[in-house]
């Protein structure tokens, strides 16, 4: 090779190297330019997305494992604008199958606005309607894919994203207990609100890359808690059915029935009217107009009337002021605090022992008993029974009622006499049940509750064991009073009695106070509280019918309702008749 040729080679080499260097410099410059960074930032948006992972809302079971609240699949219908081929077809299909407005959908797709890449057309759509749309989508695809026409009918771009929504298989059953969950996934009322945090779980926000090379470990989502309630679905159903029938039969405005295990505080059933189909919770304002309480058992206080006498008698017996055989001569009137107290029928019942006073529900007698006890002791006992305070039941919306105490500005001496038979004092049904549990349960007052177990990660996290919240009376007093109440029902041949089973209980007929300071004699709250079997109570039932029109008396409305409930309870709870049970206990 001569020198001239070598020189040319050198020039070519240097030139090529310079060009290569220039290309490298340019590549580096472009890659690090502001525009490149903007493009990188822009592409980062499409590499993945920040997603909030919500654990499925925890299920709610009854005590026997029957699902009361679960989750079901629904769909979000969206449009991926980049894939849309024919907006007209999408608007038409969604208007026909999903009930959307054609013009609105068409306008949304054709004029999406700057930067919009997808649109949500509808949400919470049922699988049935989605399947219809999907079928149409498939048939269009099969029939028109080969046409090559730019305006061919197509649902390309329409997407369906499945997610869960709350579902209540029993519809309105136990609705007053359960509450509901709205579409913002927040629980309202009842168990759903009380245990919202546990049921909702902890959502996790994580970056989900679309680029498979960047796939990361899945975020750890702790499952939500599953709740097992003390409610028995079958008992709840029977109680609601009987309540509705009683309201119809006796022409009551509303009603409440509570069934509790007096030994554990487990609420077996809690029925109240009105009830809401929880799968259509948006009707709540129509079903609960004005200030109608969602659950009367905990949210409506009222003057209980004569069922309250069991607490007065329990206090007096426990204090030793009276004995079951103590004789009181009823003259039909008892004057105290400047007010005359009369019996429900205005009659004088003559000499009565304490059983007779309970059997005939004598206001005069019980007012006398309360005055023998004295205001200080009477109200001390009433407070020990938990009156005037919330029970703390695990439901939202509980109110405390009102127990006026000596020293309060609106308390007058006559209150002692009237309170003794349930006038001038307001309680909720759940308060009455808790207080009376002391009489049925050997003097031990139990905490009424609805949660039996919380289960999370397959582990039992919490068990609500029976809790004793007080000993307002002694075991001996409780047994004595239970016996007195059982005898009084038997002597009276009450409609509350159940063949084969010995029950104790008391009726109540309370006149309703008017806003003008006196009582309405034509409208009453009829109630009954009872338990059984007397020697070993397995159930306590509280019935409250508001303003029954067929009869104003608790003995003619609430008592037979109690009897009907007990007849179902002994079947559903497998409680044999007393004779069989005692024979099995004592042996042949």
């Amino acid at each position: 090779m001569n020198a001239k040729l070598a020189w040319r080679y050198r020039i070519t080499q240097v030139g090529t190297a310079l060009v290569a260097l220039a290309i490298l410099v340019q590549i580096t410059r472009i890659q690090n330019s502001v525009q490149a960074q903007a493009i990188l930032d822009d592409t980062y948006r499409y590499e993945g997305e920040w997603t909030i992972f919500y654990p499925p809302r925890g299920e709610i079971f009854d005590r026997n494992g029957k699902l009361l609240a679960g989750n079901t699949i629904v769909y979000e219908v969206a449009v991926n604008l980049q894939e849309v081929e024919n907006p007209h077809t999408i608007a038409l299909a969604t208007s026909v199958h999903l009930g959307l407005d054609y013009a609105t959908v068409y306008d949304q797709i054709t004029n999406p606005g700057a930067g919009v890449v997808s649109l949500v057309l509808d949400d919470y759509v049922s699988p049935d309607r989605i399947n219809e749309t999907k079928k149409l989508m498939d048939s269009l695809e099969n029939e028109t894919s080969g046409l090559g026409d730019a305006n061919r009918p197509s649902l390309a771009g329409l997407t369906f994203n499945a997610h869960l929504q709350r579902s209540y298989p029993e519809n309105s059953l136990a609705s007053n207990i359960l509450g509901y969950v709205n579409r913002e996934l927040r629980g309202y009322y009842g168990i759903e609100e009380k245990y919202n945090d546990q049921l909702a779980g902890v959502p996790v926000t994580a970056w989900v890359p679309l680029n498979p090379n960047l796939v990361e470990e899945a975020p750890e989502i702790r499952p939500s808690a599953t709740l097992v309630l003390t409610i028995d679905r079958d008992i709840q159903s029977a109680v609601e059915q009987i309540l509705d029938e009683s309201i119809g039969t006796y022409g009551a405005e509303s009603g409440t029935i509570l069934v509790m295990d007096p030994q554990t505080g487990d609420i077996l059933a809690m029925a109240s009217t009105p009830r809401l189909n929880l799968n259509e919770y948006w009707n709540i304002n129509d079903i609960f107009p004005g200030e109608t309480p969602f659950n009367r058992a905990i949210s409506q206080a009222y003057e209980p009337g004569s069922v309250f006498k069991i607490l007065t008698m329990a206090s007096a017996l426990d204090a030793g002021v009276v004995q079951p055989g103590t004789i009181f001569v009823d003259t039909g009137i008892f004057t105290y605090g400047g007010t005359n107290i009369r019996n429900w029928d205005g009659r004088a019942w003559g000499a009565q022992d304490m059983i007779g006073c309970l059997q005939h529900s004598l206001n005069v007698c019980l007012a006398w008993v309360a005055t023998q006890l004295g205001a200080e002791d009477f109200y001390r006992y009433m407070q020990a029974f938990g009156l005037g305070h919330k029970t703390g039941i695990d439901l939202t919306g509980e109110i405390s009622g009102r127990l006026k105490l000596p020293g309060d500005t609106d308390w007058y001496p006559v209150e002692l006499a009237t309170n003794s038979f349930g006038q001038g004092v307001s309680v909720t049904p759940i308060q009455m049940v808790m207080a009376a549990s002391a009489i049925a349960n050997k003097g031990q007052m139990v905490y009424p509750h609805l949660l039996k177990t919380i289960v999370q990660d397959g582990q039992v996290r919490e068990i609500t064991a029976p809790q004793i919240v007080g000993w307002p009376i002694s075991e001996a007093t409780a047994r004595t009073l239970s016996e007195m109440l059982a005898i009084s029902l038997e002597n009276e041949a009450s409609d509350a009695l159940v063949e084969g089973y010995r029950v104790a209980g008391k009726t109540g007929t309370a006149q309703i106070p008017t806003p003008y300071g006196h009582y309405d004699f034509n409208q009453t709250n009829a109630s009954f509280i009872g338990w059984g079997p007397v020697d070993e109570p397995r159930f306590m039932v509280y019935v409250w019918l508001e303003k029954p029109s067929a009869s104003i008396w608790g003995s003619e409305t609430a008592a037979p309702t109690f009897s009907r409930i007990v007849q179902r309870l002994v079947v559903l709870m497998d409680i044999p008749p007393d004779s069989v049970r005692l024979q099995a206990t004592t042996g042949p």
Partner: protein
């Protein structure tokens, strides 16, 4: 000086040989680069496939969870109180009355145990994968060093 020049001349490579060596070197570099690139592409492609597979499995898991929840609720719908009562009545059944029941005293009978929900939704983190699936070679070696008794007398 001439001797030295001759010596260099003797051992000097022919021009065509030097050029061939350079070409060979470049070719080797090219081949190595292509091999590295091929290997990189292969690994990247397999990673992408694995990632895509993971994404698909995750989607399947999510879908299965939704379907499971849906089926549990559907089952509850089919066995709800109202439905079961209706079916029972259609079949001619009616609620039994308390006085129609016959109770038998059965020695040793144990009542039904309390209901406990199945361990559905159990957190997989409670059952971690064994280290063979998670640790690197260095981790394994470190674990081996820590766990292996180095003192021969202890063996």
């Amino acid at each position: 000086m001439e001797k030295i020049k001759n010596l260099f001349q003797t051992y000097r490579q022919a021009v065509w040989r030097t050029q061939r060596q350079w070409i060979g070197l470049v070719l080797i570099l090219v081949v190595v680069s292509v091999m590295v690139a091929g290997l990189y592409l292969n690994v990247t492609a397999r990673t992408a496939l694995a990632g895509r597979s993971i994404q698909a499995i995750r989607e399947q898991i999510t879908e299965n969870e939704l379907v499971n929840a849906d089926l549990a609720t559907e089952y509850a719908n089919l066995t709800s109180t109202e439905v079961m009562e209706q079916r029972a009545r259609t079949l001619g059944f009616r609620p039994v009355e308390s006085n129609e029941l016959i109770f038998l005293n059965v020695q040793g009978y144990l009542p039904k145990p309390d209901f406990r929900p199945a361990a559905a939704g159990q957190n997989p983190a409670n059952n971690p994968l064994p280290p063979e699936y998670t640790e690197s070679l260095l981790d394994w070696f470190g674990r081996y060093l820590v766990s292996s008794p180095l003192d021969g007398a202890q063996r």
